[in-house]
Each structure stands twice: as structure tokens, then as C-alpha cells.
């Protein structure tokens, strides 16, 4: 019964959320030093520090503080950012779509390009194409994202000058009317082709840099799975019945081979969120990840906790959805609840 499965998944997701909120809250309160003093700096007077403490509610007991945090968070109130002096929820609402757009494009690259390259390498196994693709994939995996970011920026931005290297849009353009916050989609919805194209050009380099490690890994995984599936009896059967190699590779071998990749696409999506700050810093992308880093460097507790919670919620949602979709597509695993 898929309904039961969905409920169970949602249930465990919710538990995880609670767990993470406790974890992050505990961490924040365990850290050394007085948050208020740290925020104000050593030159502040004790009255100022005390005032801030009262304001932040730091004088109450820990469980009470936690409850306060949770009740406010549920309403979307994460307090004021000490870094930007604005409501954290506003900051996040502004920066989240930027990161989302970046990560969605990256995930598409990873999922589609990764699989295609993997299949190609498997089909031409042993040839130079295969070896070249494997090399590129390995390089992708072992090179840090920020190195790719800097490299791409130099190559395509400075030297070749093909693609822009800063921000989401060229300076002289205004963002499209806000529907989703994703500039490309919003521009297309508004019928502004040029704007969409400009946004697309801006997202290319950061998205590629972000996706390369995962792309390499996906390509390698797909390649290995394809090669293994090619040896399976059911593929041999297809061959014995004269099904053309093309069909075998792209249809009958690909589907079972790509299931492991698809299973982790949810995890990949969230992992990309984690790494996004690296490319956001290099390419001046106004995203939530970069915001998150700033909150850390500035010891902005509210901003930090909000960022982490948002990421966790995203993780839980994405994984639950992925699990549900997979269970729907593969009725076999509905019965078992993989813990």
C-alpha cells in the first residue's frame, strides 16, 4: 500500500527534522564564549552585552530557549541577522532561489550528462574514447570544486571571454517579474527570451564547476554498471534474439544500470547545495550558500541556524520525494522499509 509507505517516510523525515534542530541548537548553545559579546565585539560595554542578551533571550534556560526557537521557526521567524541587520527570513527568501537555480542546473548536468557519458564510455569500452572519458571523469572527482571554478573562470571568462563570470545577470538588465525566483524560468514565462538567455549564460560556468565532481562520479558509476549489466543473462538473451546493440545499450541495459544513479540523485542534489558556496564565492553568485558562509564567519547565530535548518528541510523533502518516486516505480520495495 503506497499510502502507508508515504506516511512512514514522512514520519521518519519529520523525526529527522526534529533531531537536526536539536542538534544544531545544542551546538549553537554549546559553543564557547558569549554569543552576545562575540557579536558586539570586545569594545562593547557590559550593559550593551546584557541588553543584547535579553533581546536574544539568552538569559532563559536552554529547553525554554529551544522551544522558543522552534515555535518561532515554524512561523518562519528566525530572528534578526546580526550580519545584515535584517530579518533572517527575508535574507533567506532573497538568496534561496539563486542557489536553487544554480543547484537545479547542476543536478540536471550531473544526471543527464553524467549518464550519457557513462553509457558512451561503456559502449566504446577499451577504445580511446572510453579512456579519455574515464580520465575526464576521474579528474572531475579528484579536483576540488573551487579549483574548477577558478579554472573555468580564467579560461572562459578571462582568456576566451565567452561567458560572464559574475552575478546572475548582466549589470544593465533588470530581473524578470518574480514568479518562482528562478530567473531563467521567470524570464521564459514572461516571454523575455533575451533575458532568459542572459541568465542562462550567467549560470553556465558556476553550474558546470559545481557539477563536475558529481558528474565524474556519476559517469564512472554508470559506466561500471553498464558494463556489469551487459554481462547479465537477460542482456545475453536480447542479443541472442538479434536485438540491435544500440537498443540494448540505450534501452535494455541502461534502465537497470541507471537505477543506482537515480537512487542517489536526491543525495546528490543536497550535496550540491552543500558545495554551492564555493562557486558562489568565486562567481559572486548571490545565493544562500554564500550567505551561510558569511553568517558563520560573522558568528551570526540566527542566520546560521536558519540556513542549516532550511538545508535540512530541503534534504528531508528531497529524499522523501525520491524514496516515494522510486517506490512507485519499483513496486518491489514498497514492502520493506529500508531504515
Amino acid at each position: 500500500m503506497i499510502g502507508l509507505f508515504v506516511l512512514r517516510r514522512l514520519g521518519s523525515g519529520f523525526l529527522v527534522l526534529i533531531g537536526v534542530s536539536v542538534l544544531i541548537f545544542a551546538l549553537a548553545r554549546v559553543m564557547p564564549g558569549d554569543p552576545a559579546r562575540l557579536a558586539l565585539g570586545s569594545s562593547a560595554t557590559s550593559e550593551q552585552v546584557e541588553a543584547l542578551r535579553l533581546q536574544l533571550g539568552l538569559n532563559r534556560s536552554i529547553p525554554v530557549q529551544y522551544l522558543g526557537f522552534v515555535t518561532r521557526a515554524v512561523r518562519g521567524d528566525f530572528g534578526i541577522s546580526l550580519y545584515s541587520s535584517r530579518r533572517v527570513s527575508t535574507d533567506i527568501a532573497e538568496t534561496f532561489p539563486a542557489t536553487l537555480e544554480l543547484v537545479i542546473v547542476s543536478t540536471l548536468l550531473v544526471g543527464v550528462l553524467g549518464v550519457v557519458l557513462g553509457v558512451l564510455a561503456a559502449m566504446r569500452r577499451g577504445t580511446w574514447t572510453d579512456k579519455a572519458l574515464q580520465l575526464v571523469a576521474v579528474l572531475g572527482v579528484v579536483t576540488p570544486t573551487f579549483v574548477w571554478a577558478v579554472l573555468l573562470m580564467l579560461l572562459f571568462g578571462f582568456w576566451l571571454g565567452w561567458l560572464p563570470i559574475a552575478g546572475r545577470l548582466s549589470e544593465w538588465l533588470l530581473p524578470p517579474p518574480h514568479v518562482t525566483g528562478l530567473f531563467i524560468i521567470d524570464a521564459l514565462l514572461a516571454g523575455e527570451w533575451m533575458l532568459a538567455g542572459d541568465a542562462l549564460r550567467h549560470v553556465v560556468l558556476p553550474a558546470v564547476a559545481l557539477s563536475l565532481p558529481a558528474l565524474g562520479q556519476t559517469a564512472r558509476l554508470t559506466r561500471v554498471n553498464m558494463i556489469e549489466v551487459q554481462r547479465a543473462p537477460h542482456i545475453e538473451l536480447m542479443r541472442a534474439f538479434g536485438v540491435p546493440e544500440r537498443s540494448i545499450s540505450f534501452k535494455y541495459a541502461l534502465r537497470p544500470a541507471s537505477i543506482p544513479t537515480l537512487t542517489i540523485i536526491g543525495l546528490e542534489f543536497v550535496a550540491l547545495f552543500g558545495n554551492a558556496f564555493l562557486v558562489e564565492s568565486v562567481f559572486m553568485w548571490p545565493g544562500m550558500a554564500r550567505y551561510g558562509v558569511q553568517t558563520i564567519l560573522n558568528k551570526d547565530l540566527n542566520g546560521l541556524m536558519a540556513t542549516v535548518m532550511v538545508m535540512t528541510i530541503l534534504f528531508v523533502v528531497v529524499n522523501t520525494v525520491t524514496d516515494i518516486v522510486i517506490a512507485y516505480v519499483n513496486p518491489r520495495i514498497q514492502g520493506t522499509d529500508a531504515v
Binding site: H234, M238, A240, G242, R255
Partner: protein, 318 residues
């Protein structure tokens, strides 16, 4: 109709060259049902795969000739294979549930292997193999089928393009006895009706006795005995065949005698007769390659003691 002549297959690997099949010749005439019998590891499945050109890769060396009527299957190229596979010759694989793609429906897979047949043909074929609810089976995934059902699907796949030759590789090993018989009855019935030929690969002598006209006995990559099924099972001459028959459990409850020893190392097979190390009658003469010798009309065995008037040979041919 199917003629395999002097087939030799070897694999190059970690420990050198493994000569797994040596100078195997067999034939299946039109309308005949022929068995290829032997224990696991003797090379019979490999032989089947050679017919369909399924052995590939840089580490395999194949020599010999294989002909299907006028068409050469060895040597051959992709063009030839694409015309033969599934159309003029079809194969039934050993483990039916493993031989079906787990993420595609039966309908998808049957459509993939059907060539140029009228609409509705698939459904009819499923009915012909005694599947009562073809629509349910067509919409199902392999894991939803029982072993027997899956086997019948494989048989349907093999029959659907009305091939001249069907090669069944251990078609019932994965099933229980009752289901085995049903499946094979269906298969043989359809084959006889179409006038096709059957090459049945099996280690189950009971099936061989029931369904085939002629048989070949294979040991360690060599054909050691051949003839009509009655001739071989009734009057086996090769020590291996005799031992194999003696090893079949009898209903009177007496424990059968197994055969001592195991298959030879294909990297360093014994010179001459490969059964030597396990043969109770092995002698000096067995160290050189032995040709097939005539026992009777149509009955041959690869043993030096066949057709000889040596006292020793008479002793063990009683």
C-alpha cells in the same frame, strides 16, 4: 541442418590458455531432436553460445566451422547474426527469472524479440504455451512470475518467430519436476508441429530419454560418445557414459556410485583422452589423442578399447 565441425574454443587468462572445447563435431538434422549431455563445466553451454555468436571479447579464440544449412555461422559477421538470431535459430536460457529483464514488462520484452509478426501474435503464443491469463502476464514484471511461468514465457519467445532450430540450454534445471515436464511437453509439441529441430542441452538423462532421438555425450570439452538415444542409453560404450548411467539414482533405494575425481584443469589437460585420470580402465594407449570409433551403425565412442578384441576391453564391456 545445423553442423558443427571441429569446434575448438580456448580462453586466455591469468594462468595461460584454457582449452575448454576441443574438436567438437555434432549435427542436428531437420526435424530432429538431439541432446547434448554432460556434467557442469564440460563445455556444453559454451557450444550453444558459439552457435549464436555470443562469445566475444579479446580473450577468446574460436576455431572450426559451424553451418546452419547454407549459412556459415562460424566464421560470421554481424550482418549474418542479425538475420539468424531469433529468426532462424532461437535459444532458451537456463534460469528463466534471471533471463528476463527485471525492469521491463513481459510485453515489452516479447515485443523486443518478435520480428515481423502480425498483431496479437504475442498474446496467441502465450496461450499456446498454456498461460491462462496472457494479459495479466503481459502487464507483469518478471519478479511477479513463478519460475514455471517465466520458463513458458521464454519458450514463447523462442517459438514466436517460428525458427528452424531451437537450442534449449538446461531448459528446466531451475524448475521442479512437474513443471519441468509441462514445459518440455509444450516445447516439444510446438517443435514437432512446426517441423523445427531441437538441440537440447542437459545433464538430466531422464529428459533426454523422453524427448530426444539422438544424443551426444560431452566430457571436458570433447564429444566422447554419440548415437541414437536408445543406443547410447541402452548400450553405452564409453567408460564415462557408463559411469554416468551408473550414477543415476534407482528407485530401489540403492545408493548410486559417483565418479571419483573431477574435471581436468583446462590449462593442462591430460594428453590424449581427457577422462584418463578418472577412468578405471586407463592404460598406456590412452595417452595419445583418440578418435571416435565405430561401435555400431550410427553409434560412436571415443575410447581406445572400443571395437577391439582385447581381453581387457571385453571385460568391461559386459
Amino acid at each position: 541442418m545445423l553442423e558443427i565441425r571441429d569446434l575448438s574454443v580456448s580462453f586466455r587468462g591469468f594462468e595461460g590458455k584454457a582449452r575448454v572445447i576441443e574438436n567438437v563435431s555434432l549435427e542436428v538434422r531437420r526435424g530432429e531432436k538431439v541432446a547434448l549431455v554432460g556434467e557442469s563445466g564440460c563445455g556444453k553451454s559454451l557450444t550453444a553460445r558459439v552457435v549464436f555468436g555470443l562469445l566475444e571479447g579479446g580473450e577468446v579464440d574460436i576455431d572450426g566451422r559451424v553451418m546452419l544449412d547454407e549459412t556459415s555461422l562460424l566464421p560470421a559477421d554481424q550482418v549474418v547474426w542479425s538475420k539468424i538470431r531469433g529468426c532462424r535459430a532461437a535459444m532458451i536460457f537456463q534460469d528463466p527469472l534471471a533471463a528476463l529483464n527485471p525492469v521491463f514488462t513481459i510485453a515489452d520484452q516479447m515485443r523486443a524479440v518478435t520480428k515481423n509478426q502480425p498483431v496479437g501474435c504475442i498474446r496467441d503464443m502465450l496461450e499456446r504455451v498454456a498461460i491462462e491469463d496472457p494479459d495479466r502476464v503481459l502487464a507483469a514484471y518478471p519478479f511477479q512470475l513463478s519460475g514455471g511461468m517465466a520458463q513458458r514465457v521464454l519458450i514463447a519467445m523462442a517459438l514466436i518467430n517460428e525458427p528452424d532450430l531451437i537450442v534449449a540450454d538446461e531448459p528446466a534445471t531451475a524448475l521442479d519436476t512437474r513443471v519441468q515436464r509441462q514445459a518440455l511437453d509444450l516445447l516439444v509439441e510446438a517443435i514437432t508441429a512446426n517441423g523445427s529441430s531441437l538441440l537440447l542441452i542437459s545433464h538430466d538423462l531422464g529428459l533426454v530419454r523422453q524427448y530426444t532421438d539422438r544424443m551426444y555425450v560431452m566430457y571436458a570439452g570433447n564429444i566422447v560418445e554419440s548415437g541414437s538415444t536408445d543406443q547410447v542409453l541402452g548400450g553405452a560404450r564409453h567408460p564415462y557414459t557408463q559411469a554416468m548411467l551408473a550414477a543415476v539414482p534407482q528407485l530401489d533405494g540403492a545408493l548410486p556410485k559417483g565418479i571419483e575425481g573431477h574435471l581436468p584443469d583446462y590449462h593442462q589437460p591430460p594428453p590424449g583422452c581427457r577422462f584418463q585420470p578418472r577412468c578405471p580402465h586407463a592404460a598406456q594407449e590412452c595417452h595419445v589423442p583418440v578418435p571416435l570409433r565405430l561401435v555400431d551403425s550410427g553409434h560412436e565412442a571415443r575410447c581406445v578399447f572400443v571395437g577391439s578384441s582385447d581381453v581387457r576391453s571385453q571385460r568391461f564391456h559386459e
